[in-house]
Amino acid sequence: MTSIAKETVKKFASREIGQLQATLEEIKGLSGLTAEQKKEIASGIIPLFYRDHSEDDDLDNLIRNAEKTLALLGDDVVDVVISHMVEADMESVDHFARALGDIGAPAVEPVLKALTNHSADGYVLTSLLQAMSYFKDESALKTMRKAFEYTGHANPQVRSAALHCLGRVSNNLDLASASAEDRSKMFDAVFSSLSAPKAITRLHAVRALGEMLRNSYLTAEQVDKTHKALRAILGFDDFEWDVAYIVRAEADRFLHLCREPAAAGAQSNGTGRYKQEFTIIEKRELVPMTHYMRVNAPLIAKKIQAGQFIIIRPNAHSERIPLSICGWNREEGYIEIIVMGCGRTSMETIAKNVGDKLQDVVGPLGQRSHIRKHEGACVVLGGGYGTGAIIPTARDLKALGNKVYGVVGARTKDLLIMVDELREVCDEVFVTTNDGSEGIEGFVTHALDKIMKREPVSYTLAVGPVPMMMAVTKMNEGTDIEGWVSLNAIMVDGTGMCGACRVSVGAKTKFACFHGPDFLGKDVDFTELTKRQKMFVDKEKIAMEAYGK
């Protein structure tokens, strides 16, 4: 029998592909071979794997057949194959790996043992992991558990091979055979490699995740995690994962700066006759974080009316924010604003000092307050930063011969603003504080209640936080009082172009910037307004954190 094996092996000396194919078929026909004989035949077949079969389909087929034939020899030849494989060049390794994969279960233990024996040799480990990637079913399961260990290997090649192996395992192992725990470990091992320092490792991690996704190995939660990570790699979000991505994202972030130096600032405002410089000519801190500012804006000052507002951008990178006006001087050409530092843009505004310029001031915007002579008294109510905004309207009401009461509310005495200024344009001013530290204890509505009990009221205007405007509106319910509120919706352009400031008024959609800002309180959907104002709260936090830096 030995002679048969020897005879066969001799035939491998041939260069003739047809003949070699015949020899392989002949081997497949042999039966009753001893372990020794099988080993001899294996040694005969193996040299075929070293042949250069690129662009030679016939030789390629032959080698495929050789892999199969070798595998048929079974467990007896595993050691031979492994001992050759550890020496094999990179191109040939795959053939050994396939043969081992085809042998299947009997090859698993020897391969795993070899892994331990060659633990110092990265190259061999890579080859063995490659072989492991061809195991199927039960063998794949065993392989997978071993491959985990190598996903954290210091050698990036080994690590990549382990990831590749895991990806393949999801192909070769039926979903039902892999326990949830195994799959979870597998996912963690692969996922953590997404942040590996070498691109090749990350590449294989992405591929392995892809294979696992395709084979439904991931839970919904894991899919979501993967989704995020893949998007990060592609630069779809700012979840900074991939080092290369961060570089790219940074580059992309500043690319626009190279391109649009003009857009950033230089383009602003005219050069000749209409050149406008929005210089801050006076600044006072009224209460902490709330400032009064006088800004040079002659053209706006000439035209603005009570109830109208402006939009400012403090700096070239800034958002456009609407602000109400608390006064103006048409001759000297300035407007007066009150800015409360509560978000990024308002903080940047109050950080400016006398002599500094605001990047843009646009206005006047919106419709003027609805003012006429009333039978009963007119009450203007201001809360917080809104106190400034009621002054011009009060002045206009007074000028028409109305009896005008002012009401100013704050949490406590120290937060009251613009009381003296309001006194100048009103018949009488009431002050309310929540803690009773000055004036009436309670809310502005308490003062309004007091006035209403004393004499008939025909008109109210409330400017301030939404709950305060709602409370005043509620008090007017069931009366003939013309109750106006001034809405501070989120805006972008302020001219009606974008519709960001949509409010529901009398069940119709209105634009606060153009149709407003004053609306009859009874028609306004305050609940919707409150919720719409919260649209960007998360972003505001991010912008503030970035400002802190």
Partner: protein
């Protein structure tokens, strides 16, 4: 050169069209770089050689500004790019922008004779090439200026109409001041057209050309509020005013839930991104709420822009349109680009409600399934509901349903006549409004169209403004008084009036 001339018409007709090289779809959806790469000089000369130089060219009439297309193609074929550029600039001041955003497939290329037997000549791509080449090689673009006339014109709005009018009037020696409400010029080309279609440099370059010609730009000016039209004429001493304020008032759907958070008009969404640079948040502090599943309603050019922008911001985007693909008003190239970029389309889906959560954020869109009726007398197939509805989960909705005319100026100018849709009424021949010395053009008088139509109209109006300023304006004006009268419609070549 002579060899090329020898190519006969038959051979020209047989040459295949040079397709515009594009960035790969998978790659381009990760960035905001321009999608088409542009022709090489060789490609451009070859493509220009496909023009058969018809005796009666249809393409000139197909162009709203009447570019002498065969003439510029002939110069380009010989490699005289500078000559071609000069030829285009005789009639069109924004070739780089027009080559990119004009719907050529509905204009010049639609009537191209070559297109009857083969693909039409890629006129748009060639216009783009000439304009880009001109810029890259720093050719002098400032035209020869006549002596100053001493007349002053105020232009309201710095979009396509305003810039074109400014160019035409400055070229004729008038002092021109452009008033813009925003903090930078370009109008809809900046806030409404994405950077991957029209890079900012191109717009800024054209504005720079006007500045070099001596046009004054004033930003942050809300004409109507800060200065009325009467102020401009009576106090500021302008001899004429041109209104090019465009169509800046988004149309609403009027369905339940349209004011939910996460529901934007296309104007707001695109303005946040392209004018205010919300994609560079927080370096630029304008925020954008961008969800993962975005619905865009409408299938016009702006809808395509919105879809492709959303895709670039990582969202899964779907287009909902109540008619079918055939009726989609978008430029065919934009529609194709969107389809290449893995964007889903739900044709015959008419949104009837947006569903929100307790915090007022949108979570779903409810649509009626439509079908097209049999063609009516006018041959139009109307979408009619089938009675079926479906609900899709979404977290961002952008509606792109077109715009009405911005009401600020009409509101502040009682003697400026508008129709019931707010469109500024003008005399069709001269674009003169009901107010003496005030002309209008662009979307403000049509109610919304394209960059090139706005330019075509502005150009026509600018010529009339010139006649008016020079004192040979003797037309009997016919400004419609009927509030139901439609806006100006463009029908073929704009204005055959003597020049």
């Amino acid at each position: 050169m002579n060899e090329k001339k020898k190519i006969n018409t038959k051979e020209r007709m047989k040459k295949p069209r040079n397709e515009m090289p594009l960035h790969e779809a998978a790659k381009r959806i990760t960035n905001f770089e321009e999608v088409p790469i542009g022709y090489t000089l060789e490609q451009a000369m070859d493509e220009a050689g496909r023009c058969i130089q018809c005796k009666k060219p249809e393409c000139i009439g197909g162009c709203p500004v009447g570019i002498d297309i065969p003439a510029f193609l002939s110069l380009l074929e010989e490699g005289d790019v500078a000559g071609a550029a000069r030829k285009i600039r005789e009639t069109n001041f924004l070739p780089a922008a027009c080559g990119r955003v004009c719907p050529q497939d509905k204009q010049c290329e639609a009537v191209c004779i070559v297109g009857k037997k083969n693909d039409s000549v890629a006129i748009g791509n060639l216009e783009r090439f000439v304009a880009d080449y001109e810029k890259q090689t720093n050719m002098n673009r400032v035209p020869d200026m006549p002596p100053e006339t001493g007349k002053r014109v105020a232009i309201v709005g710095s979009g396509p109409a305003g810039l074109t009018a400014a160019y035409e009037l400055r070229k004729r020696g008038h002092a021109v001041t452009v008033f813009e409400a925003f903090h930078r010029g370009g109008g809809v080309m900046v806030y409404g057209i994405p950077r991957f279609r029209l890079p900012l440099e191109i717009i800024d370059d054209d504005i720079q050309l006007l500045v070099d010609m001596g046009v004054e730009f004033v930003y942050d000016m809300i004409i109507g509020n800060i200065l009325t039209l009467d102020d401009l004429i009576e106090k500021e001493g302008f001899d004429a005013v041109f209104i090019g304020t465009g169509a800046g008032l988004p149309k609403m759907l009027g369905i339940p839930g349209e004011n939910l958070n996460g529901v934007y008009s296309a104007n707001e969404y695109l303005t946040r991104i392209y004018l205010m640079h919300a994609i560079h948040f927080p370096e630029n502090t304008t925020p954008l709420f961008q969800g993962k599943k975005m619905a865009v309603i409408g299938a016009g050019n702006t809808a395509m822009d919105t879809l492709r922008t959303g895709k670039r911001l990582g969202a899964q985007v779907t287009c909902y349109y109540r008619r079918s693909r055939e009726e989609a008003p978008a430029r065919s190239e934009e529609l194709e680009h969107a389809e290449q970029e893995f964007i889903d389309f739900k044709w015959l889906s008419n949104p009837i409600e947006f569903i929100g959560d307790e915090n007022n954020f949108v979570t779903g869109i409810k649509c009626a399934v439509m079908k097209l009726s049999e063609p009516d007398d006018s041959g139009r197939r109307k979408p009619v509901p089938t009675g079926e509805t479906f609900i899709d989960e979404v977290d961002t909705v952008v509606f792109s349903l077109g715009c009405d005319v911005n009401p600020i100026i009409p509101n502040a100018t009682p003697d400026l006549r508008v129709n019931k849709w707010g469109i500024v009424m003008v005399d069709e021949e001269t674009c003169h409004t009901s107010k003496k010395g005030v002309f209008a053009g662009g979307d403000a008088i049509t109610g919304g169209s394209t960059v090139i139509l706005a330019m075509g109209q502005a150009k026509n109006a600018a010529l009339k403004v010139h006649e008016y300023l020079m004192g040979d304006f003797n037309y009997s004006l016919n400004v419609p008084t009927d509030p139901n009268a439609p806006g100006i419609q463009w029908a073929g070549r704009f204005s055959k009036a003597k020049r």
